[in-house]
């Protein structure tokens, strides 16, 4: 869906998204990193299990809830990437 403009980021960090490693620019939000890394959706819904992706990216839609470093229900548009961060698609409520 998205691509990064040809800019040279000052620094990058390594994150894993659903088990796959990616180098992403430092300072990116998790939602931005996930979208630019080619992932189509970030959660499945509680009611029907349908896939969903970030919708507003400004904190008002709560569609980008993901499991970040084991913690469910994090708004991926508000969290910045960290080196070694583990990012996972959230299924339903995100709890086993």
């Amino acid at each position: 869906m998205f691509k990064r403009l040809d800019e040279n980021p000052a620094a990058t960090v390594t994150v894993t998204i659903d088990g796959v490693q990616f180098n992403v620019p430092a300072g990116e939000t998790v939602a931005a990193a996930v979208l630019a890394s080619g992932f189509g959706h970030t959660r499945t819904t509680v009611v029907s299990g349908a896939p969903r992706a970030p919708f507003c990216l400004m904190g008002v839609c709560y569609e980008c809830l993901m499991v970040i470093d084991g913690k469910p229900n994090q708004r991926a548009c508000r969290e910045l990437v960290n080196d070694g961060m583990k990012i996972e698609c959230q299924h339903a409520t995100g709890r086993l």
């Binding site: 869906m1 931005a32 959706h41 819904t45 896939p51 507003c56 990216l57 008002v60 839609c61 229900n73």
Partner: protein, 474 residues
């Protein structure tokens, strides 16, 4: 934790003025109040000042800033002026509560705090009007504003073939910005109905008194046309289809049903005040027919129905970023006056330019509001199978059934259907539910009502809440 660019601020228990939101309103207000020696805290959820409109202003690479245009770069002045003033600027801070006693609950990282203020200025800005249509919940369908945030903050743009659809100045601006970044836009679907031209015509003469707005819009249009971007006007019946992701968008144009294949559809239907916190505080609201949204009841200075709580900028009613600067200054002067630091005469003298700007801006608004008036049919979600509440997956048909059963206001529909009870707390469905309820019951939207707001307006764990009262949990 995000990088901190200054010494850690020790948050005080009490401030003379707390400003919530670091967009043009909040930044300008902070500067004015601080210059008068007011003890100010500015709270904002983002890591850096600028709000949505001037996002990433301090860190953006110059080339990217150039692609975004002059209006964006105007924000540099506001942000740097703010940086020169003495306020407690609390970034990465989420406000989860505000009450009529001006007690403010906030979260810094994972740590909850309660502070109080003599005066509170809400500068929470706007959000995009959520308009449910078939397929809008599919991955690959996003707000145009979301696309713009990716561009401003991160230099991320759509792959070639993106489709833009909706109605409003932002859609045009985003298309223009993408064009400069070399993104190939497959189509721009303008859902502004042709009859809006007629509707807006009587307001044109007055709008010509603020013709710089119109001139800008015409430049964007001309540039897009010259670049060969296909723009279809008077489009209706927007529909996104796909299984787990959008694969095509279909619509009606010139009496024909058409379909375009795409993996990304960016939609926009205007802006509405971001009102969640002020509603939870209990500020009175009224329906504005021209802006098609609820606006807080305010006086000319931005004072709300609650003593000591002011609301300014787009959160008070959509006026745009430039107007927000002036509105922020006006409200800051009012707060400074209410604190007894300046007298009435000083307030009136110091605010003369800002009041003039606010007055002149009224020339253009009625024209823009009637030109970009969203058809009521679209707002009341005609297709029964369309999901209205994205969180609880409640459809328009289920809401209409609840109305048919005698539940004739938004809050009753909410209790019955769970519509608006998910994580977004109704931010994405409240407007649509009010329109559906009103249309189904043959009433005006104002009578359909709006969900009651309650704290916490941001996610908070029970542990965080309990930690505010250690003596009771020991």
């Amino acid at each position: 934790m995000p990088a901190c660019d200054g010494p850690t601020i020790v948050v005080k228990d009490h401030y003379q003025l707390v400003i919530i939101g670091a967009g043009p309103t909040g930044l300008s207000a902070a500067r004015v109040a601080a210059d008068h020696g007011v003890d100010v805290a500015l709270l904002d959820e983002q890591p850096a000042p600028g709000g949505q409109i001037y996002r990433a202003m301090e860190s953006i690479p110059p080339a990217r800033a150039g692609l975004l245009g002059d209006e964006y770069q105007h924000g540099r002045k506001i942000v740097s002026s703010f940086r020169q003033c003495n306020v407690d600027y609390l970034s990465d801070t989420q406000v989860w509560s505000l009450n009529s006693k001006r007690e403010i609950g906030l979260l810094q990282g994972d740590e909850p705090l309660m502070i109080t203020a003599d005066q509170v200025l809400l500068a929470s800005g706007a959000m995009e009007r959520p308009v449910p249509f078939p397929g809008w919940t599919l991955p690959g369908v996003m707000n145009a504003g979301a696309g713009q945030i990716l561009f401003k903050s991160h230099g991320i743009v759509p792959n070639d073939g993106v489709v833009l659809a909706g109605s409003g100045p932002l859609l045009l601006l985003l298309a223009w910005q993408y064009m400069h970044a070399g993104v190939k836009i497959q189509a721009l679907l303008d859902l502004t109905p042709m009859r809006n031209h007629l509707r807006a015509l009587p307001r044109l003469p007055r709008a010509l008194m603020a013709r710089h707005y119109l001139a800008k819009g015409l430049v964007y249009k001309k540039d897009l046309k010259r670049a060969g971007i296909s723009t279809l006007h008077n489009v209706s019946d927007l529909h996104a289809t796909g299984n787990d992701h959008i694969s095509s968008v279909s619509f009606r144009h010139r009496g024909r049903q058409r379909s375009i294949e795409t993996e990304l559809l960016l939609v926009h239907f205007g802006l509405i005040p971001n009102a969640h916190l002020s509603r939870a505080a209990g500020c009175e609201y009224q329906w504005d027919r021209s802006q098609q949204c609820w606006r807080p009841e305010l006086d000319d200075w931005g004072s709300s129905s609650i003593d000591g709580i002011l609301i300014a900028g787009d959160g008070a009613g959509i006026g745009g970023a430039r107007t927000a600067e002036h509105a922020g200054r006006l409200s800051a002067l009012q707060a400074t006056y209410a604190l007894g630091i300046i007298d009435k005469y000083e307030r009136d003298q110091l605010s003369r330019d800002d009041r003039k700007w606010m007055h002149d801006d009224l020339h253009i608004r009625p024209f823009l509001e009637s030109f970009f008036h969203i058809p009521r049919k679209l707002l009341s979600v005609p297709d029964d199978d369309t999901i209205v509440c994205r969180c609880e997956e409640v459809t328009a048909g289920e809401i209409r059934m609840a109305v048919a059963d005698g539940h004739s206001d938004s809050n009753q529909v909410k209790f019955l259907t769970r519509c608006g009870m998910g994580p977004c707390q109704g931010r994405q469905c409240a407007e649509a539910v009010a329109h559906i309820v009103a249309a189904a019951g043959g009433e005006k939207v104002a009578q359909g009502g709006h969900y009651r707001g309650r704290p916490p307006v941001a996610p908070l764990t029970l542990g965080q809440l309990a930690s505010l009262y250690p003596e009771e949990t020991e």
